[in-house]
């Protein structure tokens, strides 16, 4: 009884342009279009997720998808979303499941931070004329310099070398397609950076990109075995995820088919459940044990990352992780994306990564252990400015997930959990996966990161900074706009004008 009211979008078909080719029907995996027996095209608005596939593919440009002009009554308190969600739950009795990051209109601190530039006294640097260092190392920090018999400096351990401080964050094979993984792996290699397998194991075909791969170990330990651990350049222990802190993962049996089951190393059709906690980790000492056992299994050749969701006590938690022997701490903010998470968790649990990052960096400095670890920030880095601000707040590098997907052709329709991604990204249906052209996607990913690199160099040059080291944690380069003094304190920045 609420189907019409639930419809978020309406489809406008311009009959004067339509050539009746049937492309829209073929392109929409959500079954919005259907040819009736009498030849008329029936359109089910309520099934549309506004992924724009049909609009892009219509050869006559006859389609437009717009926000549904017909809306049930709503007001400042009972806004449309709240009403529609109640309809959904009243119909199904289900826990609401969403994908992509928290879309709610809450403060994005990045948007309230302004970056500095040099004027007069400290001249800016022209990146076109002078060398700019954007390379960073993640891993062993070489705090003590020791020399071997030959007089050469001996490294303390391994570190990852990133030509740009951007990596592709964990997205499992299963949540995204084979083609999407292939594109991320190839782009990472071309860019001199890294992509992350997520918790679904590593497809045999992608072992060759090992030098640019971070393999993940999550509570379900899917696909984790000796070769896998040794295949990547680093290992990431996933303790939590910004989109769903405190929640495990559940890939339903329908999706664990074919290569997915082979890669996860579970029987086809069986549920892949990642428990919320690692059942062998109840303390920092336990975490240390997992870090150590992974180091043993890889003969101390791989840096170990520990990824946690940004939550209330994050500074203390990060302090513990820094002492667990981990080399890199990954902070995932509450706007981080996901292939599927309960809506209420995604939209209400966790804290913004800007605040988490600043408070972790401050705490580690105060405790004198900042140089023991590297910090990576993720959870909605949308552009190079967010990246520059994150680095100035204390990050060594950033992770991008959603931005990478958008570069590959994602239209942010937020329906990855349906498994019917019309753009071939968050789906396992072969005919949909084939829509993602890997060569094209690699090119677009490389373009994106290269453009960000140039932009970052320009911003750095403007500040009179020619190396990332001089930007990292350099909060003097940031000023807050319209933030209260508590927020400024936590971010460790002054207000604009000060």
């Amino acid at each position: 009884m609420n189907a019409r009211a639930r419809a978020e979008f309406e489809i406008l078909k311009d009959a004067s342009r339509c050539i009746d080719c049937g492309v829209c029907e073929k392109q929409c995996a959500n079954g919005v279009y259907k040819k009736a027996a009498d030849g008329r095209l029936l359109i089910a608005d309520e099934k549309c997720v506004n992924c724009q596939r049909c609009v892009e593919m219509c050869p006559a440009g006859a389609l437009k998808v717009i926000r549904n002009r017909n809306t049930p009554q709503s007001d400042g308190n009972w806004h449309l979303r709240a009403v529609r969600e109640i309809y959904r739950q009243a119909e199904t009795g289900g826990v609401l499941l969403s994908s992509m990051g928290n879309p709610c209109d809450m403060p994005a601190y990045f948007d309230r931070i302004a970056v500095n530039a040099s004027q007069v006294t400290n001249p800016p640097i022209d990146p076109l004329r002078e060398p700019m260092e954007t390379r960073v190392y993640l891993g062993a920090q070489n705090r003590q310099i020791t020399r071997g018999r030959d007089g050469k400096i001996q490294p303390e351990g391994k570190a990852l070398r990133l030509e740009v401080p951007v990596m592709f964050s964990a997205m499992s094979y299963g949540s995204i397609s084979y083609n999407a993984h292939a594109a991320l792996a190839r782009a990472a290699r071309e860019l001199g950076t890294y992509y992350n397998t997520g918790e679904g194991g590593l497809h045999r075909d992608f072992y060759e990109y090992g030098e640019n791969t971070i393999v993940q170990v999550a509570s379900g330990r899917f696909g984790v075995h000796k070769d896998y651990l040794n295949a990547g350049a680093a290992i990431e222990i996933k303790m939590g995820q910004g989109a769903k802190p405190g929640i495990g993962g559940h890939l339903p049996g329908e999706k664990t088919v074919g290569d997915i089951s082979v890669t996860r190393m579970i029987p086809p059709g069986s549920d892949a459940i990642s428990p919320a906690p690692h059942h062998d980790i109840y303390s920092i000492e336990d975490l240390r044990q997992l870090v150590d056992s992974l180091k043993e299994a890889t003969r101390y050749q791989k840096p170990i990352f520990v990824k946690v969701a940004a939550v209330h006590n994050i500074a203390a938690i990060a302090g513990g992780i820094a002492r667990s022997g981990a080399d890199v701490i990954v902070l995932d903010g509450w706007r981080g994306g996901t292939g599927a998470a309960p809506t209420r968790i995604r939209d209400n649990v966790g804290i913004p990564v800007e605040l988490a990052l600043a408070s972790v960096d401050s705490r580690l400095r105060a405790e004198g252990i900042r140089d023991r670890v590297c910090l990576v920030a993720g959870g909605s880095i949308r552009n190079s400015a967010d990246m520059v601000k994150a680095i100035a707040l204390g990050a060594d590098a950033v992770y991008i997930g959603t931005a990478a997907l958008i570069a590959m052709g994602c239209h942010v329709c937020r329906s990855c959990h349906s498994g019917r991604c019309n753009w071939g990204i968050a789906t396992q249906q072969p005919e949909l996966v084939a829509r993602l052209n890997v060569d094209e996607a690699v090119k677009r990913l490389v373009n994106l990161v290269t453009a960000w690199k140039h932009e970052m160099e320009e911003m750095m040059g403007g500040m009179g900074i020619n190396a990332i080291e001089a930007l990292r944690g350099n909060r003097l380069m940031l000023r807050g706009l319209g933030l209260n003094s508590r927020e400024l304190d936590i971010l460790g920045i002054m207000h604009a004008g000060e």
Binding site: E85, H225, L229, M265, I273, S293
Partner: protein
């Protein structure tokens, strides 16, 4: 080759084990050094003394004999091979184990066999001669756990066994007198079920003594996942 572990830290000991070219290594005077036989393949490692946390973690193949007790996280994410513990083992044994076999002569601590899973020809097995602590086989996704309770203690299992179990099988000698969750059913093991177990009992008895045939003839309770889907209903939003 023999290695005297006394006074060695685990880094040193494991480095010595890795550096050793023999396929059979005997560690004497072991006193809780961690991660012995971690990710090891194709070797026999005999530990005399107490094996520390994470013994046999990610083990690929070969044999690990512990002539004494093993501490926590025994056979964590083990992939293949055989582990024999002649004493008891600590908490979280066989966590997320995917293949191979673990035999513990004595008791197992809390959270044994959590989230074990099977895949293809890999069917992991955890056989516990004595009792198992609380939370045995939580989230069990595949493989076989057997609790033999050879000391005939009043309670073979601790509380909260088989929580969230959705695959695999748990055998318990005798009856079960702790409550089980809705997601599983328990029944007396029939002949066919016992055929599956017989091979493991044989190996257990061959290693630690006892009469496998007699054991197999006794009554076992079998816990398997209930058919009803334990999935929570989600509504796409």
């Amino acid at each position: 080759m023999e290695i005297y572990a006394k006074g060695m830290g685990y880094l040193q000991l494991n480095e010595a084990v890795r550096a050793c070219t023999d396929n059979r290594i005997s560690i004497r005077g072991c006193n809780g050094q961690r991660f012995i036989a971690c990710a090891s393949s194709g070797r026999q490692i005999d530990v005399h003394g107490v094996a520390g946390n994470g013994a046999g973690a990610y083990m690929e193949s070969g044999v690990l004999n512990v002539y004494g007790n093993a501490q926590d996280a025994l056979a964590d994410t083990m992939n293949g091979g055989e582990v024999y513990v002649f004493g008891s083992c600590g908490d979280a044994a066989a966590y997320a184990m995917r293949g191979g076999e673990v035999f513990v002569r004595g008791d197992a601590g809390y959270r044994a066999g959590v989230h074990m899973k099977e895949y293809g020809e890999h069917v992991p097995a955890l056989v516990i001669g004595g009792r198992a602590g609380c939370f045995l086989g939580e989230y069990l996704a595949g493989g076989i756990i057997a609790v033999l309770n050879l000391q005939n203690s009043a309670q073979a299992l601790g509380e909260e066994a088989a929580r969230g179990m959705h695959g695999g099988r748990i055998y318990v000698r005798g009856g079960i007198n702790v409550p089980l969750p809705d997601c599983v059913t328990a029944r007396t093991a029939d002949k066919e079920d016992m055929c599956v177990l017989a091979g493991y009992l044989k190996k257990f008895c061959a290693a630690f003594g006892g009469d496998a045939k007699k054991l197999a003839a006794e009554e076992f309770t079998l816990i398997t996942p209930a058919n009803k889907a334990s999935k929570r209903l989600y509504a796409g939003n």
